[in-house]
Structure formats: structure tokens, C-alpha cells
Amino acid sequence: MTAVDERVFERPVSGRRQRDAADWVIVGTGPAGAAVAETLTKAGHDVVMIEEGRWIKKDEFNGRAFDAQKKAYREMGAVAAMGRSVMPVVQGRCVGGGSVINAAIIWRLPPDVLARWRREFDIGDAIDDRELAAAFDTIEHDLNIHPTSDGALGRNHALLKQGADKLGYESRIIPRNERGCEGYAQCLSGCPIGAKQSMDLTYIPASLARGARLYHSAEAGHIDVEAGRARRVHAEFKDPLTRARRGRLTVEARRGVIVCASTVQSPLLLWRSGIGLGSGHLGRHFMAHPGASIAAVFPEEVRIWEGATQGWDSEHFRESDHIKFEGLALPPDLFIGRLPWVGMDLKKALAEYDRMANVGCAMVAQAEGSVRPLGGGPLITFTPTKQDMINLRKGLRILADIMVAAGAVAIVPDIHGVPGRLSRDQLGLIDQASIDPRSYTMAMTHLFGTCRLGTDPQKSVVGPDFQVHDTRGVYVMDSSVFPTNLGVNPQHSIMAVATIAAKRLAG
């Protein structure tokens, strides 16, 4: 056992109760929590991390999607937002959080988004341009961020580039946090070769090496507040899968509690603790990037199971139509289920499997939903607006055009009311498709907004110092503080903003 191992606990050291104390208690070990731990431990602070999921150890990602979902996803990926449609909400629940199961995409916060936050949401001096740029630089160095290599790009993404080029749409290679990616298209199932520089392989071990302690498989239940100040966090050790209880954990927070538990879980923890309720905005303004995909059939081999899960994208329509395109290479256990057929029709489609490509359209949705406590868990509500759906339908049509420009002989759109397979001259049927969200198979990633940042305590939950307006010593530093969605994959922005916020605490 190494010195680092000795600081990692999944149950009480003895008996049924574990106690600890630290300068800072961080709840959540995803990109936000890990960046905070990295920053504070580097500055010499004493840190305890509490994580609801478990540390997924050697050899545990085996290239099987469901196995990964069982180990690393909240509710095995079965969390859903309710609204006019039912939309899966994808969230990691393991040490490293979303960084373990995302596609390792790294984009800086778009300047127009930050400008809008300053203009419309009065975020004060929360995010300074120079500090932000410095944080981005550091993270890019630490996580070995570089453009997807040719060897890991894969033909699926090359086709997106080819089609976009032919139609004159701007597109670009995706920078990723990886070291030695071999392009197994397995990012969403946990990198099987440990190439993805997720938090469990980078900032968390580094923080542990500097003296931090990690309590995983420990669900934070309540933050105690005394005399208007956060004093301690209570958690319960539980097997994340079986929910078997293993004991209790109490950590005294000498300086404060930093909540980085996600856009869904952070407001719930505050709610349970009676914190942040004053403005009436806690749990509101839930935003996301819902999306749908289309498949395309080519005359030659594509081999969708090869290449980075995501290696090429196009932001050409982000500002004008609030949509973004991405290549999405998937293994068969995820991709076959996305084809629109069942029975022998589905099996017949497999004859073209090696010639199929898959591309996704993510909406920068304008809709706002909410997160509320219901029983022991969250009730997430979200319905895309009519304009969001018009944008999505337009995006899917443009994607079909891009694929045809790249040489596709057929498009497989998966929209109810539209034939499962469209020839090149039938693409107009997509334009006539319903804009009812129930007609599309969508999933939702990248969640924001439920603990909104702002200077006005009547309109926001946390202030420009990331401290909850109504309670001293409780900070929120994850994407729940972002006033809007971003239009790009958020890991980099989440880490950079958390780094800035933590640096101010570090002094």
C-alpha cells in the first residue's frame, strides 16, 4: 500500500463512525472538486474530499457499456428529466465524476458567453479574464491537452470534416485531455487503456500525495450550520450499487465547505441543509445541451468503432441557430440501440454496420427547467422550447446534408413519423418532421444553472466569491453556478472557474 492509498477510505477505519477535520471539505470529485482540491493542496491547505461514487480501480473498465454504467454512472444512466418528453440525463458517479465517462473534449469558455454573463447576469468580478486565461493554460499543461491525433481520429470524424468542407461550413479538430489514446471509441464507457486524463488519474492522486484525504462511496447528507456559518459535513458510507450501509462520516470544516456535487446534486444538498433558500432561485434555471443524432450509410467502410469517441466538431451554427455538430463514434452496445428498428429489420441493418457513421446535433437550448427534491432523489423537469426544437430539426437536416456531401448513400434519422432510412433525395422529409420533443430520441448532457452566480442575493444563490449569499463558509464551485449553458463541452470551463474561485480562498 502506498502513502496515497492510506489516505483513501470507503468505510470507517474502525467501528461504524469515522471522524475527521480539515481546513476545507470538498463535496464531489468531478472536474470542479478535483480542480479545487488541486489548487488548495498546492497552496498548503488541509483538504478532505467526499465522493458518493466509488474509486474505479485497475482493470475495471472492460469495453462493455453497461458494465461501465453500472460502476460509474448515476442510476446506471437511468436518470431522466421529465417534461413533454422523457430525456435521459447523463451524469457520472465515481471518483473523477464526469471526467471519467466524458469524451475528453476540452474547449475554453467562449468569450461571447462570458460577455453575456457580465452583461445580463451581473456576475461582478467573479471571473477575471487574466485569471481565467492563466487557469486554462495551467489545466491544458497538466492534462496534456492537444488536438486529436490523426491516429485516433477515425473515419467517422473525417467524414464530418469532409462534408462540412464541401458545404463551406467551418469545422475543427477537437482538443482532448489524453495521453496515448488509441481510438477505441470507448470514452463513454471509461477509457479501457487509461489514456484519458480524467481526474481520478491526475488531480486527485496529486492532491492525495500532498496530504488530502478522500472518502469515497460516501454520500454527503447534510451541512451543519451554526451561528450562520458552516461547521461540518455529515455523510454516510454506502455501497454505490447495492446501497448497503457501512457507517457514518463526520468532517469538521475549519474554514469552509465547498460544494462541487453537480448541477443536480449540489442544490439538493443545499436544500437538505436549509442553505441558499433565501432567493427562491435554488434549483431553478436548470439548463443543458440536449441532443439527438443521425446515422449515415456510406458505400465504403467507416468502422464506427474505431477512433476517438469525439474528434471533430462544427460550431458554424452555434451563434445563429444555437446548435452544434459533433462526430460521435460509438461501440455496438451503444450504437445499435440508437438505430430506429426492432426485430429482423434491426438485424438486417447490421449488414451495413461497418459502413455506418454517426453524427450528433447538440442544442444550446434556451429552455430552463428545474431540480427539486423528491423523496430521496431529484425531480428534474425540462422541456425544450418550440424554437429549440425548430433549431434541432434544422440541425439534423444540415447534418444529413453534410453526410450526403461526404458521400453517404442513405440517412438514418430516428425521428418518429419520418421513415427510418432516407435516400439522398428524401432528405426534405426531415424538414417536415414534427417539432414535438416526443418525436425525437434525445439525451441530455452538460448541466448548468441551479445555484446561479450573481451579485444580487434576490436573483442568485452564490455571490461573486462563490459563497452562498445567506450562509458563510459554504461555497459552490461547479457548473451549477453558471448562469447559462455554454454551447461547448464544459469540463475545461468548469475546472478553470473552480480554479479561480479556489485560488481566492487559498490567498
Partner: protein, 140 residues
């Protein structure tokens, strides 16, 4: 919560209708690739309402044939010949009722988790490069 042996039989009848045996690429069905194990895991380990909902879906398939397949399907689903089950599943998949389509999607997702993860299926699809797995994370 565990699926009973009867519920497993009912679920397998539905999974087989999603991915039946036969076909040019691979003769394997969802049942040959143990998709039922995925469903059992989900019912066993999902939290309260999600597990109950999944279990209810299994009952829906077994006893709800008349609602989605018409009067001709008022028999129990698992007692129908495969061709009839498949035809009913196609109808469900294209239904104008969102709930029915969601039922088909749910079962298809479960079926494909098992089917698409099977090495024999992957080889038949042309996946000829095995993943080189390496150790990751802590030493313990």
C-alpha cells in the same frame, strides 16, 4: 428487488422480439447474448421508482398485448410465436403513443447492451481489433 423466474421468462420473450435469432450477419439473439442479465442487474440495483418502473414494463409486455397489438394480441406475450411477438414489437416501436414507443426503446436499449457487448457479435460486425486493457487507478 429481483425478477422472479416467471418475470425473467416474460422479459426474455420481449427481448427476443427485439433481437430475434437468424439473419445474415449473426444468428445470435438477445437471449443468446444474455441481455436478460442486464435487465436483472437494473431491477436489482436501480433505486426505488426506477426499479419498480422497469419491473412494470416487463408486466406491460406480458399482459398489455391487446393494448399495443390489437385484439388479436390479447394472449399473453410470452405465449405468442416469435413472428407474432416481433410484429407486435414493430407496431409498438412505431406507435403514435409516446409511452408505447418508450417501452420499445427501453427494451431495445437493454437488449443492445447485452447483444452489442458480446464478443461473437462484435467479431461478426467486423470488430477485429481487441482492446488492450491496462491497469489504471490506485495500486490496491
Amino acid at each position: 428487488m429481483k425478477l422472479s423466474s416467471a418475470e425473467k421468462t416474460w422479459a426474455e420473450a420481449a427481448l427476443e422480439a427485439i433481437i430475434p435469432p437468424g439473419g445474415d450477419v449473426t444468428p445470435l439473439s438477445a437471449n443468446d447474448t444474455k441481455s436478460i442479465a442486464v435487465l436483472e442487474d437494473m431491477v436489482m440495483w436501480l433505486s426505488g421508482m426506477n426499479a419498480v418502473g422497469l419491473r412494470a414494463a416487463v408486466w406491460f409486455f406480458e399482459f398489455g398485448g391487446a393494448t399495443f397489438g390489437g385484439v388479436g394480441l390479447c394472449k399473453r406475450f410470452s405465449r405468442l410465436p416469435l413472428g407474432d411477438r416481433e410484429a407486435a414489437m414493430v407496431k409498438l416501436n412505431h406507435s403514435n403513443f409516446f409511452f408505447f414507443r418508450q417501452m420499445a426503446l427501453l427494451m431495445k436499449t437493454v437488449a443492445c447492451f447485452g447483444f452489442g457487448a458480446d464478443d461473437r457479435v462484435r467479431a461478426a460486425l467486423g470488430m477485429d481489433r481487441p482492446v488492450k486493457f491496462v491497469k489504471r487507478g490506485l495500486s490496491s
